[in-house]
Amino acid sequence: MLEVTDLRVKYDTIRVIHGVSLNVREGELVALIGANGAGKSTILKTLSGLLKPESGEILFNGQPIGGLACHKIVQQGIVQVPEGRQIFSKMTIKENLRLGAFLEVSRKRWEQNLERVFTLFPILKERYHQVAGTMSGGEQQMLAIGRALLSNPRLLLLDEPSMGLSPLMTEQVFDVLRTLKQEGITMLLVEQNAYDALEISDRTYILETGTITLEGDSRRLINDPGVKQAYLGGV
């Protein structure tokens, strides 16, 4: 579904992604883990079109999408839940969700999607007319995911959905991701929280300073002594 080959990205003159290749197949949940500053968010931003690749190829269902404008990439069905949630804090929950469905043309599908989001996140229904900035961090994360689901994503990019959340909230967010996975939504998950990411995902890529150093089946990696040492606190 998504095929990235030899991607390089730089900020001004400093290259931060040095030839990354990865792929995501239909229905898969793929995790991309690594330390702070490894370039995980940069990769997602490039996939969404917020950043332009320096070189390399990004294919989505066989079509090149590297360097396309952001709104064209969203039209193709690649939708991102950005780092730090990035909700529209001065607007209501309702308006945030409407903006998630900005490109939606079918009123019926909007209503169906909205029902589905309300089932996943009942809190959003309760707070529908409230200003989004007044919600807690965890609720805002629910809103950010709900908003993304309203745009009929074919591939969901999640940038550290557990960042800054309490352990309880983190658990809830990962439960939602499990539900979405069961529904067959294809996801690429960026996480610093390596253990949860490895546990939930089918396959994992480990990124170190802009290069993929390890990739493979998540169940295998979770038991790998080297991975344990470096990312799981050496247990």
């Binding site: 917020l50 039209q75 950005p82 001065k90 900005f102």
Partner: protein
């Protein structure tokens, strides 16, 4: 000093204020989305006014047609400035585009001087627009009344567009969070272009009103009213359209009361007085009269 005199100064203030309000709305719409203080906004008014003058005097076009053409011209100039001077610098930050807008302003002033000479020119509206109606001693021209009503109508329409329509929702989203808006599939360049179209059209109309009031025009005429309109927008709470209109009226009334009631030795400092008012208000309410407490930057 009789009450009629004070009252007529008040009305004069509302007249001036409605022009400021009209310019301030345009300022506010562009600022709300791009955080761009567009110093060239006032000079777009000048371009529009010269367009009207040339079309009427040189080509003999009827006034209404020339006004339409001046709006188109203002929009074209505004969009060229956006495309060439602001968009390429958008990533560089607000300070950079601010300096760039000063450059556009100076460029437009000098372009007008080259084409039309720096001399003042007479600008007369037809008599049916300048006809003075007498309301118990307070005199208002037809144009003044039209201006005042136009400001209110435009405020109502734009408020509706921004609150209730899809494009308005996209504008508010961009104003709230630009990157998130892009991730929702909003083409932000479209939104910016729409903001400039609205802003420039309003600049054209306010240019007409200003010129009609002063009856003379010159290539520098737009700059100071542009600055004052920016002050009006900041005073009212920049980003809020109601605030822009309120700020325009407050500033206009303050300026005319100052000019009319103070001793003649200090009335030439009315421009300075306007900026002092701005400073004083911002000291008490840093985000303007109607500005929100959080997130607002002036």
């Amino acid at each position: 000093m009789d009450t009629l005199y004070v009252l007529s100064q008040l009305v004069n203030g509302l007249k001036l204020g409605s022009v400021y309000a009209m310019v301030a709305i345009g300022y506010s719409i562009v600022y709300g989305i791009l955080r761009l203080i567009n110093f060239a906004h006032g000079d777009i008014m000048t371009v529009a006014v010269y367009t009207i003058l040339s079309l009427v005097t040189i080509f003999g076009l009827p006034l209404w047609m020339s006004i339409g053409a001046s709006v188109v011209m203002a929009v074209v100039v505004g969009l060229i400035a956006e495309r060439t001077a602001y968009r390429p610098l958008r990533a560089a930050g607000e300070e950079t585009t601010l300096v760039s807008s000063l450059a556009v302003s100076i460029f437009l002033q000098n372009l007008m001087m080259m084409i039309f000479s720096p001399q003042r020119k007479a600008f007369h509206l037809p008599e049916n627009l300048t006809f003075l109606h007498n309301f118990n001693g307070i005199r208002l021209s037809t144009m003044n009344i039209i201006t005042f009503i136009a400001v209110i109508v435009i405020l109502v329409i734009l408020t509706f567009v921004i609150k209730r329509t899809r494009v308005g929702m996209a504008m508010r989203a961009c104003s709230d969070n630009m990157d998130a808006s892009r991730l929702m599939g909003i083409n932000i360049n479209h939104v910016v272009v729409i903001a400039f179209i609205i802003g420039s059209s309003l600049a054209a109309l306010s240019g007409l009103m200003l010129a009609g009031e002063y009856k003379t025009i010159d290539p520098m005429m737009g700059f100071v009213p542009g600055l004052k309109a920016f002050c009006a927008a900041v005073l009212g709470g920049i980003g809020s359209l109601g605030g822009a209109v309120l700020g325009g009226f407050v500033l206009g009334v303050a300026e005319m009361l100052f000019a009319g009631l103070m001793p003649t030795e200090i009335t030439p400092y009315r421009d300075a007085f306007v900026f002092v008012v701005l400073i004083l208000v911002l000291m008490v309410r840093p985000n303007g009269i109607l500005g929100s407490r959080e997130g607002g930057r002036s």
